[in-house]
Subunit: 182 residues, 2 copies
DNA sequence: AAAATACATGTCAAATATTACATGTAAAAA
DNA sequence: TTTTTACATGTAATATTTGACATGTATTTT
């Protein structure tokens, strides 16, 4: 079973919701480590339904709008817990198109390389700022029993990741400029 | 045109080689930011051939073993250079199964969460050590005109990435333990 | 009252990527 | 001399993901 299905089970384990709600979560609270579009969510829900890991009730919103509110079953809870407690070997290193461009940048004008480095630094600084805005909502570190504590941990991870990307790019820019002056 | 095709063009831009050689590069020098299996490389070479971006000559190794040695064409060089100098918006945040598990770890025993954190720290420390072994080969920072300089930059990036992953995990472990003692 | 945005659910085609299937030669080690 | 490892090239089936197509309701803004 793919990771996305466990992500869905994990969310439904917290709270029953619709495919639309799940999709929204993938665009917000899970955004810093997992994303999915609605075109992937609905088929996966169907698959989980066939496995008996989720069930749904139809609710009417307003006068005609049908909503399918999905709830995790005991079977689903068991499958989720089993995944959650399994220590999987770490996945292959994520692909990074910019690192690839940089790797080949010896074939490029030094000014162009610098321009590329500065553009990407700017992009990652923006991303970092967006994550820091989330961080500011935490006034204290939440107690470790709450799901808020987990939110805090993964958000810290996202900050670490972007900070290190930025500091690497700064280092690259320095190295490129230094050797220009000498 | 997909990124993998540009990765192949970039390698052939440095030196003519076979699909087998390319696959080996994806497992070694490009490993820290892009990978591909031979089952993906051969069809992509075929596609590049149809586009006129590469051509090949058949060489005989030994008495019977046929090798297809691919060479980039001028058209291929132009396409590559165009990609290389384009500043693409940064890609969505890479997926990370462990961060997903951690995000849901409020539903888990605190000891289990700690066990998971320590396992992943160990895995990433190992990965970091492997990259550091590559780093040790550089006695000085190579001059910026050489492709070695690019190798150095991306390798530094891989070190930054793994170091920050490890320091984040250490921070998480500390936070989990701290609150246990208090 | 109209328009725009958010809510809500799906399918389909295409691109990307992994694993397994399939075959054979060359060189090095046991 | 046999076996194993590296060299060498492909295809097929499957899984994952994205982007486009397709439709309709509810709410908010203009």
């Amino acid at each position: 079973m793919g990771t996305l299905q466990y992500a869905i089970l994990g969310m439904l384990n917290r709270e029953s919701m619709t495919g639309y709600d799940l999709t929204r979560e993938f665009q917000t609270s899970l955004f810093d480590f997992w994303t999915a579009k609605h075109s992937q969510v609905y088929p996966e829900l169907k698959s989980l339904l066939e496995k008996g890991y989720v069930e749904y009730e139809t609710e009417i919103s307003g006068t005609a709008l049908k909503k399918k509110v999905y709830t995790i079953t005991q079977q689903g809870r068991d499958a989720f817990q089993n995944w959650e407690e399994t220590a999987y070997p770490i996945k292959p290193i994520p692909k990074d198109e910019f690192r690839l461009q940089l790797f080949f940048s010896d074939a490029m004008e030094p000014e162009m390389r610098l321009k590329q480095l500065e553009y990407h630094l700017q992009q990652h600084r923006q991303r970092l700022e967006q994550i820091r805005k989330k961080q500011e909502k935490f006034e204290v570190i939440p107690p470790k029993e709450e799901s808020q504590f987990c939110d805090y941990l993964v958000m810290q991870g996202a900050i670490h990741r972007e900070e290190s990307y930025c500091s690497w790019l700064e280092e690259c820019i320095n190295l490129c400029q230094q050797r220009k002056i000498l």
